[in-house]
Symmetry: C2
């Protein structure tokens, strides 16, 4: 083996770089979405996603109670299922623990996970506990979806509207308020609590799925291909030859990341309307509009869905979802993701993943 | 919270004690087998199992190459699927890595996992890689099984024969030879290599499943309940009212552990015939019969199957499996697991989990 190659360390290429190198060990059709999809039986696909969380890297007793760490870990995995259109079947929990960890801490962690899972009618179905020098939580979630209803990142088409299912920036705002209690002096107690709560107890948007299937099954939502969806058949009776008109992913790594990933996977560009990106109303009590936008685009962990779909379906979806949901932009030809100001007070700005908070904090 | 309770640490009750306390967070019907079983669709169950492995605790570069560590991790999870009667659909791999780990080490780990999975026509379908102070490998494997073919620990009945699917003690012998090269001077090189190989590259017994289904589908295997199985229908056409006549688990924690666990779960006892427990022929070149028996009963990691089934089915199974497989005993009333010597040179000995190598090494 080449000695230069063999001395290469993980820190030289980063976890993302390593993940890319290891993709050659996976079937190529598996890669590129929030979760893997496996065909298990006619009319049924299994969706699987996994996360590893390490004490001091992904959670900390300083800002997060064990209950909240558990809730957040479960929520992140359920959000990956929602992003694929899948209903949860259960999760497994692998736990590495130093001997000195308190049993009550572990029980509170499980309590938090269970509270989140119960809200979505699912549960912990298996696990493993081992001794480890560092507390480590490995969650695998699995769900099921009808093959015709799988939501992929790669199916966005030019002209699609981009729907965000709720406000963005909330989770990051909550974390900032936890870390810096001196911030947001103008916030009322209830407003502050609501933002912190959004960070501690994010809500995966599994509730959006039945609304999507209802819209898809409703009469004539699609002018271009109405024959596919105009019948009132139940969604699992969708004709297999009809392409799924919805693409998307969750916004766990930020709204900007989600839109850029969808555009990359679909080979398209996008225009986001600066004033159409929904942020919490309370942001204007303590953040400048620029700060609010940065929180929304790059904050992450809001666990909302970012969905690309034909304009008529998008309008129907936003109407059904109510407050917070919005059409935030549209899919364009090319590969650029632009932040546009309809009032033309700001020049168009190209979004990329490397700016984010670096840009904001400098 | 009670202060005595809240100060209780994981090391005070151990991982097993903690696992028992955490079972109240899981649906009760899930607990007690090698893997969890979830009903996903009519005629189909999803089987899920998860393992966490920590560097220095479960694997070590001292005795195990990264390829072998990968193979063994994949094999252990596939063995849990085989123990439930399930065919693998794929595994996810969650990896925690210090930055100083060599990329080539990780690639070799994945190479080993992939080699094992490919042998059983399955693959890595998803994963996560994160920074961690200690190398941690979390594998979740999932498979599918027809609901009528799920192999559980809890279904052994008095009179069942106990079949072991191959020789036992091999993996432990291989590890001893790796750790203490001065042992086994009488072994030929090929014999030594074969034992070490059995430790490094254990073979999960997924190959046993089609043999089981064939035997179950063959005419009149069961004198007591012939109506269930005498037709030549394919196994997935088994009438649902016929109980699955096979119970069992894998022998990953040793043959004694497997039989004791099955007896506990089924509310029965067992008699093992001392001279019917298959060990490798090469054991008599370097181990006393007592040592060989201890290796077989308590060594662990042989990843064979221990199956309890009616005598006629058992005979047919052993005949199909060929060398190594044997009827090692039978299920009895009561709750005692006895080691019996048909030649009466040794008195009956009660097996329990606490003796094992403590007994042997003292």
């Amino acid at each position: 083996m080449n000695s230069e190659l063999s001395s290469l360390q993980v820190k030289d290429i980063g976890e993302q770089g390593l993940l890319e190198r290891l993709q050659r060990f996976c079937p190529p059709e598996i890669i590129g979405d929030d979760a893997a999809v496996l065909e298990t039986a006619p009319g049924q696909s299994l969706v699987v996603t996994t996360d590893v969380l390490v004490d001091g890297v992904h959670f900390s007793n300083l800002t997060t109670s064990p209950e909240d760490a558990g809730w957040r870990a479960a929520a992140a995995n359920l959000s990956d299922l929602a992003a694929m259109g899948a209903s949860p079947l259960g999760i497994t929990v692998g736990l590495g623990l130093p001997g000195e960890v308190r049993v009550s801490w572990v029980e509170r962690l499980y309590q938090g996970m269970t509270e989140c899972l119960q809200k979505y009618n699912t549960s912990i179905v298996g696990g493993d506990i081992v001794r480890s020098p560092v507390t480590t939580l490995a969650i695998t979630a699995f769900g099921q979806v009808h093959p015709s209803q799988i939501i992929r990142r790669s199916a966005a088409v030019v002209g699609d509207a981009i729907v965000v299912t709720g406000v963005h920036g909330t989770s990051h705002a909550g974390l900032e308020l936890l870390l810096h209690p001196e911030l947001g002096k103008n916030l009322k107690d209830a407003e502050r609590t609501a933002l912190i709560r959004a960070h501690q107890r994010p809500q995966p948007r599994l509730d959006v799925l039945p609304i999507l299937w209802k819209i898809l099954a409703s009469p004539s939502p699609m002018p271009n291909d109405a024959s596919c969806f105009k019948s009132a058949k139940p969604p699992n009776a969708l004709a297999p030859q009809c392409p799924m008109p919805i693409s998307g992913m969750d916004s766990s790594d930020g709204l900007a990341d989600a839109i850029i990933q969808i555009c990359r996977a679909s080979g398209v560009g996008a225009v986001l309307e600066r004033r159409q990106i929904p942020v919490p109303k309370t942001f204007n009590h303590w953040l400048t509009p620029e700060q609010a936008l940065e929180y929304a685009l790059y904050g992450g962990e809001d666990f909302e869905l970012v969905l690309c779909l034909p304009q008529k379906l998008a309008s129907a979806l936003v109407q059904h979802l109510g407050e917070g949901a919005a059409i935030a932009g549209s899919i364009t030809a090319g590969s650029t993701v632009l932040l546009h100001d309809e009032q033309k007070k700001f020049p168009d700005q190209v979004l990329n993943l490397s700016q984010g908070f670096q840009h904001f904090k400098s």
